[in-house]
Amino acid sequence: MKNNMKRDVKPGGRSNGDQVVSLSAVRLAPPGKSSGGAVIKAAARSGGSLPASLTERRPAVRKSLKAAAKARARRASRPMPVEKVIKESQRWLDIIARHDRLSQAQKKRVVKETVKSFDAYFNSGFLAYRKAVAEAEQFASIEWTGQGTHIEDIMGRQYIDCLGGFGIYSAGIRHPKIVQAVKAQLEHMPLSSQELLDPLRGALAELLGEIAPGNLQKCFFINNGTDAVEGAMKLARLYTEKSGFISTLRGFHGKSYGSLSLMGKAEFRVAFEPLLQDVYFVDFGDADEVEWQLKKARDVGLEIAAVVAEPVQGEAGAIVPPDDYWPRLREICDEYDVLLIADEVQTGMGRTGRLFGVDHWNVIPDIMCLGKSLGGGVMPLSAFVSTPEIWEVLEKNPFLHSSTFGGNPLACAAGIAAINVTLTEDLPGQAAESGEYFLSGLREIQARYPEQVVDVRGKGLLIGVEFVDTEFGYTVASGLFRRGVLVAGTLLNAKTIRIEPALFIPKEEIDEVLNRLDDTLRGLV
């Protein structure tokens, strides 16, 4: 490689003659056009569908590697803009410090810069995807603050949050008790030394051991749902000494390589193949299929470590299984000697009207995965929980599964506070009651617009409203956005919008959302 890269990074800059920095020296290439024709083709090949908005965007041709190398060299010869970074960051610090006292001009500048940065440095695909940009009239909606069930953008526009950050805001946004705990922990020790014992991890584990179903008692804490599923899969293989998994069609368990291998929809898999090989898929809600799959596996000698399912399928569009599904899964797994893994990342911590989804059917899985709302909507936090007997295999060599950030004290403080809030405010009970109320209101709306609203379903406050097609669903979500309500499609079923507000959402606000939905639909038909 031609070595014209004299960009020897010396952060001080000035100590080195050729590193005098000027703002004009910084030249960034124009933001890349969106591309990925191959991706679209791959998805099409697999029969997977792409979001409607995508088909309109024209992918640009990917530059050759030689051109990429040239561009690399060009940027490499550029000195690091130390002073610029310092000045810019100081400006942002001032903005952060004065967050509630910004002038109108400052606010507009933040909006402009955010959209620019998203486009240039992040994923410009999101800008088209997000209705906050596509549908907002004069200024894109830049989120700025939130409290409880409300989000306020930087221009001061208010939204009722019925998306709940895809299920993280069960305790609402910035629950004071949870924020307070995190702040206090910041004063001690946010992340662990990794050598001494961090007491909060122990404390949270104990609390979780107390509230988890049955004999689920041992936990491992990490940062997000996909990591929890990865850990559960590893534990299942380690304990059973078998490698296969049974997952469900339209099951969603995450997007890292292990959890992605359980993904029940081609669109998200195809471009990243080959994934883990021995995963078998069955229909969700049909226990006979699981039994049939296990029987086949046994007859031909395929080894299955575990069956993985969500108590209520979330991203598939809030699909509630028959009441005998989970009890039968438990029986079948016992009979065939495989583990049962409940992915409660979205359903856990009260979302469906019970503390855990499996509690509806009094089923105790072998491993349970938690995430999303476990961190109280303040910190990323997830966990997998299992029985002492299964856990034994991890204890022989504690380094078989470990994580640098997993179970950090700050996240654990949030988790402890989240459990406290969930129980003191009886969030599961509130979800059960409000869920019924919301569902019956939605069914009334369905009765008024039977052509457009195909189905209303859900459990607790994990609710899906299915529309006649994807296009219509998107239009409804956009209409609600303009009326100050945030909802979004489910990831694996864009015809269905999800309603996942804070579990303590007051009745008046539910009425308000129902009114605005009715208003939106009236305008569309």
């Binding site: 960009r7 910084v26 991706v39 700025w144 050598e195 122990g202 584990a205």
Partner: protein, 423 residues
């Protein structure tokens, strides 16, 4: 247990917290197999950190030369990071995932400003292993090839994708079969990579300095040669800078030592500012374009959250502003010299001392000696660690802004400990 939110602890509270901390660890998490002595155990319960010091619940102070395996490059609770994070907590810790969150956009911009070459598109996540998972997915997506080349003793993480490119049997074996299509070659040998690359190679993944593998510094022509080979053969070069990034080895990124610009650069650990977990992978516009087609191809609920982005933005700023990479280079060179002096004095205990910047490994003659040394330093209130993939190597990875007298104390304590080790 009630969370101690405010105020100083009474002695009784200290005792209770310590006892419950140990009990809960043993009952609900993973048991600590080696530790039996309860009183000793109690002293192990950490309580607060500041700069390069950690205090246990009784207020005993430890010098942190382990740096949370590389998290604490800015030390513990850097006041500016804490201030910014608190302000963000008061506004919006996590995101709506609907409206556009400006803080993460700003963090992405800053990273682009300082990243090598034309790397400027970032996906933020919460840990190093996720950064690697994302990089592997992106490599396959953008090249439309499937195979990876990794190195012996490489450590890239423990989720099933990153584990597939981790080069140590003990971590892999119980969880097989992992992703197929991964070839392992010896680290530091560019010819081996040249031989292993095929037309199906999506990416070669390398650490600039192997951290968990025992602090292995490659020959100076290694990265430039691998860069050349991968560019020629149409494979991507993924630099796993999870441990080496943000100044640790004496330059802002490890690859800067050799002026190499990788195709994808993974960060984590120090990107957290020592406060909020954060990881990232950064690439060029051209490569990232594959993700634009469908932003949901790779997404994460907690990824890109503004609280972590605040910490990351501050970490980048402080590292650059305070010239921490330069400081790491200077202190590291000096420390290496002094440690080599100790090696000469204790050749039967120390086999080799090596490192770059403040990522330093002391290779002992055997694993037991490594353990004994770490233990003895612990007794002298200094924390160091073993390398995960090579326990005979004691790792020294202090905050980059560690006051120099603490390093003097480390050398002194090492000298004392080495004298009494049973060799």
């Amino acid at each position: 247990m009630k969370l101690p939110i405010e105020g100083a602890l009474t002695r009784e509270q200290q005792e209770t917290l310590a006892a419950e901390g140990i009990d809960s660890w043993n009952t609900y998490l993973r048991r600590f197999p080696k530790l039996k002595d309860r009183d000793r155990d109690r002293r192990l319960v950490e309580w607060s950190g500041e700069g390069s010091l950690i205090r246990n619940i009784y207020g005993d102070e430890y010098i942190d030369c382990l740096g949370g395996y590389g998290i604490f490059s800015l030390g513990h609770r850097h006041p500016e990071v804490i201030r910014a994070v608190k302000a963000q907590l008061d506004r919006m810790p996590l995101h709506s995932q609907y409206l556009v969150n400006p803080i993460t956009a700003e963090a992405g911009r800053r990273l682009a400003e300082v990243a090598p070459g034309n790397l400027r598109r970032t996906f933020f996540c919460n840990s190093g292993t996720e950064a690697i998972e994302g990089a592997l997915k992106l490599a396959r997506l953008s090249t439309k090839k499937r195979a990876f080349i990794s190195t012996h003793n490489a450590f890239h993480g423990k989720s099933l994708g990153s584990l597939s490119v981790t080069g140590r049997q003990v971590f892999r074996e119980p969880f097989q079969p992992l992703l197929a299509d991964v070839t392992f070659v010896p680290y530091g040998d560019a010819a081996a990579i040249e031989e292993a690359v095929t037309k199906d190679t999506a990416a070669v993944i390398l650490e600039p300095v192997q951290g968990e593998g025992g602090v292995i510094v490659p020959p100076d022509d290694y990265f430039p040669r691998v860069r050349e080979v991968t560019a020629k053969r149409g494979a991507l070069l993924v630099a796993d800078e999870v441990q080496t990034g943000l100044g640790r080895t004496g330059t802002l990124f490890g690859v800067n030592h050799w002026n190499v610009v990788p195709d994808i650069l993974c960060l984590a650990k120090a990107l957290s500012g020592g406060v909020i977990p954060c990881g990232s992978f950064t690439t060029t516009d051209e490569i990232f374009a594959a993700f634009h087609a469908n932003p949901m191809f790779h997404s994460s609920t907690f990824g890109n959250n503004p609280l972590a982005a605040t910490a990351a933005a501050m970490a980048i700023e402080i590292t650059v502003r305070d010239r921490l990479p330069e400081r790491a280079a200077r202190l590291g060179a000096d420390l290496l010299k002094r440690l080599r002096g100790l090696q000469e004095k204790h050749p039967r205990a120390i086999r080799e001392v090596r490192g770059k910047g403040l990522l330093i490994g002391i290779e002992m003659r055997d694993e037991a000696l490594g353990g004994a040394l770490a233990e003895s330093l612990y007794g002298k209130r200094i924390l160091v660690a073993y390398a995960l993939n090579k326990p005979e190597v004691v790792r020294v990875e202090p905050p980059l802004n560690i006051p120099e007298p603490y390093l003097d104390r480390l050398v002194e304590a090492l000298n004392e400990s080495l004298r009494i080790l049973p060799v």
